[in-house]
Amino acid sequence: MVDSVFLALSVLTIGSAIVALEIRSLIYGSIALMLTLSGVAGFFLLLDAPFVAMFQLSVYVGSIAVLILFTVMLVRRELIFNKVEDKRRRYAGIGLMIVLMLGIGTIIIGSGLKTMDTNSPAVDYKKIGEDFLTYYSPALIVMALILASSIIGAMTLARREDVIDDQRAD
């Protein structure tokens, strides 16, 4: 069955995911989201995928979570603690969550995945690097272009046109 590291990681991941959505302050919420993403990186390490785990840590925890933290700090203070939500909508959402968990969970437990296990060795990460530079190299280039264009798009979106350059200093 599962070992203690797996149990600890799943408690950390699920618990901090709930905290990230439910805690009042958005800043603590984004720190909890950081914990969730690190927990998923821990699962990747358990699955013998160290390359994906390090990528997850550097991209998600290192850049996305920090980006979210900076955006939260740009927002007015009372909005960070603001929490307007419908009671009925909230109960409906919790019901939807439980129905989804139970429904998909029973389908998966009833399926043949339960017996699936492996004794074969893990995939070597050198193989992934080789694949990236040979078979997937066009896709890698396209991905780099998408990243560059999305960053340029984000910068143009967030730019203020009504402010003249010399006013920007103060």
Binding site: V2, D3, F6, S10, A17, I18, A20, L21, G29, S30, L33, T36, L37, V40, F43, F44, L46, L47, D48, A49, V52, Q56, V59, Y60, S63, I64, L67, I68, T71, V75, L79, K83, E85, G93, I94, L96, M97, L100, I104, G105, I108, I109, L113, M116, D117, T118, N119, S120, A122, V123, I128, Y136, M143, I146, S150, G153, A154, M155, L157, A158
Partner: protein
């Protein structure tokens, strides 16, 4: 391996359900982004888990691409939140009404 495939998939289902709850209930734009992140992460966890147990390397490759695209998506999403905040002085999505018919 001591952990079976189904354990990882059940964790990923839980993460997916929590993410959908966040998108459906929260009205704060940044919290909805949190929910989207959780859903993307549950998909990545599924990809890597299946890639370990089948086993081949393509699942990990797809997960790497998916993480990179998610980074681009978050950058654009946060820029949209900043623009909307500048226009409405609020990040409550119920207030973003100018595209509503």
């Amino acid at each position: 391996m001591t952990n079976a495939l189904i354990d990882f998939i059940l964790v990923s289902v839980a993460l997916l359900a929590i993410g959908i709850y966040g998108i459906a209930v929260k009205r704060n734009a940044i919290r909805m982004l949190f929910g989207i992140e959780m859903i993307i992460n549950s998909a990545n966890l599924n990809l890597v888990a299946f890639s370990r147990y089948i086993p081949n390397s393509q699942g990990q490759t797809l997960a790497l691409f998916s993480i990179a695209i998610a980074a681009a998506e978050v950058a654009v999403g946060l820029a949209l939140v900043i623009v909307a905040y500048r226009m409405y002085r609020n990040i409550d999505i119920a207030d973003f009404r100018s595209l509503k018919g």
